[in-house]
């Protein structure tokens, strides 16, 4: 179901966590709230869930004003960064919790728990306690628990933030597949731009309690609206007042139209990709991203003088 956030503001003491936020999340979409820590993304998510009350503005879920509603009345599923597992309950009991407080018949609960265990691939671990699970398993349990009550919207607060890189990659691919299967309206908070770009249809980039830009992963990368978006989403070199992506710079041995000289300082080989770190004659650093083949053709060496020219650069007023 859709989510509408209108003119929402929230302060903690003198700290402005959210400053006049307006946002539309469409039914069935997967939206990422992306931003550095302290940008207000988690606070916004918690306001949607009812775990925080905004100081001003309103929040609508499926067109219904829920600003004053308690969390248990909102029909949301919430997944916490640190799992918030019910430590004294088994995996099955954790997943069944939402159904049990709704007093559903035992038969229905058992059947639903069985389905969810299969969905999150935790069959056979139903009788374990959370302390006996790995971090990735615990978070899958957290997801199953949130999905058990068929929430209208699924809210995830840095769900993979506490996991190691490999498990994180696996789980976010799995989350995307899950969403493609169920089409539950989903909002995920993350500080990892790669994660946001990989899973989301729509990215909301936040900074200092404000929304910097809303758009698809490609939009944000290719048409950044502000300096902040340019530097936060993807890499960027600052050349004078301009910004240029490291793969938008050409290197050549001979000067070309508009090129300038720079010295190769270091070559970093990252498998397929090579990072060439350069110093311009005014002393500023610059780096260029190219494929291994391109670097091999140029036969680059440290201390070598090359000619650089930017293919695309952007200026922000």
């Amino acid at each position: 179901m859709s989510i509408t956030v209108r003119n929402v503001g929230k302060r903690f003491g003198s700290f402005v966590a959210l400053d006049n936020i307006n946002l539309e999340v469409e039914t069935g979409s997967l939206t990422a709230l992306l931003g550095p820590s302290g940008s207000g993304k988690s606070t916004l998510l918690r306001c949607i869930a009812g775990l925080e009350t905004p100081d001003e503005g309103e929040i609508l879920i499926s067109g219904e004003d829920v600003t004053e509603s308690a969390p248990q009345k909102r029909g949301v599923g919430f997944v916490f960064q640190h799992y918030a597992a019910f430590k004294h309950m088994t995996v099955a009991k954790n997943i069944a919790f939402g159904l049990e407080v709704r007093k559903r018949p035992q038969e229905e609960i058992d059947k639903r728990v069985e389905e969810l265990l299969e969905l999150v691939q935790l069959q056979g671990l139903a009788k374990r306690f959370p302390a006996q699970l790995s971090g990735g398993q615990r978070q899958r349990m957290g997801l199953a628990r949130a999905l058990a009550v068929d929430p209208e919207v699924l809210l995830l607060d840095e769900p993979f933030g506490a996991l190691d890189a490999r498990v994180r990659k696996e789980l976010r691919a799995w989350l995307r597949r899950l969403h493609d299967g169920t089409h539950t309206t989903t909002v995920i908070v993350t500080h990892d731009q790669e994660e946001a770009m990989e899973v989301a249809d729509q990215i909301v980039l936040m900074n200092k309690g404000r929304i910097e830009q809303i758009g698809g992963p490609r939009d944000l990368y290719e048409h950044p609206a502000t300096e902040f978006v340019m530097t936060f989403v993807g890499e960027a070199n600052r050349v004078g007042g301009n910004y240029v992506r490291p793969h938008d710079i050409s290197l050549s041995l001979l000067p070309v139209d508009g090129s300038e000289e720079a010295m190769v300082e270091r070559l970093v080989h990252l498998g397929f990709e090579v990072r060439v770190e350069l110093v311009r004659h005014d002393g500023n650093a610059l780096w260029v991203q190219m494929t291994r083949d391109e670097a091999d053709q140029l036969e680059l060496e440290p201390r070598q003088i090359v000619n650089v020219v930017a293919r695309h650069s952007r200026t922000f007023g």
């Binding site: 009812g50 969390p71 248990q72 919430f78 019910f86 919790f97 407080v101 058990a148």
Partner: protein, 264 residues
């Protein structure tokens, strides 16, 4: 190795001298002339009544302090309200204040000349020199224990589990009963044990407000004191042993009921 050993020896000696020795002596003297004598001493009308009164007061004070203590702990940890720091500090007052002073204060408030005493008397309730004041005194002196055990546990578990429960549709009471209470149950249990131990052993405040009427307002500790001064040492030792045994039973029950999942 040697220093570790001698440290252990010092600790054991200390325990033996201040703790085990006296308790063993009481047991020894109580059973010196046989179990029959012991049994006669505690089944004496006055002694039995004193023991019953002590148990009765604990049965009223402990549940009240448990409910109040858990509620107050939740307020201190989970809520924001003006004067919270003051409340938090006041909880410790009974630990710092001499029980005799507590007794005197109750006397001043509920006595014949006190602020509230006459009102209660007009409504036919005798507070001082009767059960109500003894229960009040016991509640006062044993009030901090549940709060002091539960507050750190609540802080440690945090409120994420409670938030998760609320997003899953649980109301306040369901969240408390199914999530918070199971998570703090061992803190509550230790608090109850300490509250019970303190209630059973209370002497100073009850001494002041009870009037020490034999067979009526005399608790076990008051009986022990009176019997000892009255050269009825057998009675004093026997009742002491019963109080000590009740404490042991509570402690043993605690360790038996402790579930396996937490020791694993």
């Amino acid at each position: 190795m040697r220093s570790k050993l001698s440290l252990r020896l010092v600790a054991l000696c200390y325990l033996a001298v201040v703790l085990v020795g006296p308790v063993v002596m009481v047991f020894y003297r109580a059973f010196e002339s046989g179990v029959g004598d012991f049994w006669r001493a505690i089944s004496d009308g006055q002694a039995a009544h004193a023991l019953w009164l002590t148990v009765l007061i604990a049965l009223i004070a402990v549940p009240l302090n448990t409910i109040f203590g858990v509620a107050l702990s939740l307020a201190i940890v989970r809520r924001k309200f003006p004067g919270k720091g003051l409340v938090n500090a006041f909880v410790d007052l009974p630990l710092a204040l001499s029980p005799v002073v507590v007794g005197l204060a109750l006397l001043l408030l509920y006595g014949r000349q006190g602020w509230l005493g006459p009102w209660f008397l007009d409504h036919g309730v005798q507070v001082v020199y009767a059960l109500p004041a003894m229960v009040l005194a016991t509640i006062f002196v044993s009030l901090p224990f549940v709060v002091r055990e539960v507050v750190p546990v609540l802080r440690e578990i945090g409120d994420e589990q409670e938030q998760a429960a609320s997003t899953l549709g649980a109301n306040g009471w369901q969240t408390f009963r199914r999530i918070t209470l199971p998570a703090i149950r061992w803190g509550v249990a230790y608090g109850v044990v300490l509250t019970a131990a303190r209630s059973l052993g209370e002497f100073g405040a009850v001494n002041v407000v009870s009037g020490r009427i034999q067979g009526k307002t005399e608790t076990a500790t008051l009986y022990i004191d009176a019997a000892y001064l009255d050269f009825n040492q057998k009675g004093a030792y026997a009742v002491s042993v019963v109080l000590a045994l009740i404490s042991v039973v509570i402690l043993v029950a605690m360790s038996i009921f402790k579930p396996k999942e937490e020791t694993a």
